[in-house]
């Protein structure tokens, strides 16, 4: 079956513009995570969705970041008024349920803010 997909694979934007990143999780996976990975750094948790529960937004670095998920399917991560420090790879992962704990990652979106 298909894995986690993300689009676009690369995005170059000007400082101050808004960007929207998309994640299609594995069908049937109820848990969905967004991470940020700066060059040479570890994964930084951003936000978590589980079923129809309210998302855990505790990892979002500022109010310029927001995310939505429609049911147990597609999720979009939006960054408003992008800054150069937002440049990173944004990774999405899904899991069958949180207790399964094994996360399946997409290929990521490389965001470059100029």
């Amino acid at each position: 079956g298909a894995g986690v997909s993300q689009s676009p694979s690369n995005k170059v934007t000007e400082k101050g513009k808004d960007v929207e990143l998309r994640c299609d999780p594995i069908s049937g996976h109820t848990a969905l995570y967004w991470y940020r990975q700066r060059l040479g750094q570890g994964l930084e948790f951003l936000i978590y969705f589980q079923g129809n529960s309210a998302p855990d937004k505790s990892g979002l670095p500022s109010d310029r970041f927001s995310a939505e998920r429609t049911g147990e399917s597609v999720s979009t991560l939006t960054i408003q008024r992008t800054q150069q420090e937002d440049s990173a790879v944004y990774l999405c992962a899904s899991s069958l349920e949180p207790s399964m704990r094994e996360q399946y990652f997409g290929p990521g979106t490389r965001l470059t803010v100029t």
């Binding site: 995570y33 994964l43 855990d56 990892g59 949180p98 704990r101 996360q103 997409g106």
Partner: protein, 114 residues
């Protein structure tokens, strides 16, 4: 605060030898620990999970140990091959799973030389 330490320097191992990677943590009592492999430009791929009450886990040429007293996990690849060259990430998990369930280290870059 929680801290996960993995060797930041690349680890060079000769083909056929056993590669051993270290993950140390402080200020944390994880319920489980995971190891992921990440290739350049790709998302992490799950390899192994070991729970706090387990000392050792094996999967083909991979072996993971978990010492909650030393607060350390060792990840071994036996009979290493050039194809094993990648960055290996250690991730610690809380018992509740979900958003606070997984904290990643920065990873160790492993190079298997033919």
């Amino acid at each position: 605060s929680q801290k996960i330490e993995q060797n930041s320097e690349a680890l060079n191992i000769q083909e056929g030898k056993t590669a051993t990677l270290t993950c140390n943590y402080t200020n944390y009592s994880p319920a489980y620990l995971q190891w992921y492999r990440q290739d350049p430009g790709r998302g992490p791929v799950f390899l192994l999970l070991i729970r706090e009450n387990e000392k050792e886990k094996r999967k083909e040429r991979l072996k993971v140990t978990f010492d909650t007293t030393l607060k350390q996990s060792l990840f071994h690849i036996t009979a290493s091959q050039p194809a094993d060259s990648a960055t290996y990430l250690c991730a610690l998990g809380a018992s509740g799973g979900g958003a606070d369930g997984l904290t990643f280290g920065k990873g160790t870059h492993l190079i298997i030389q033919p």
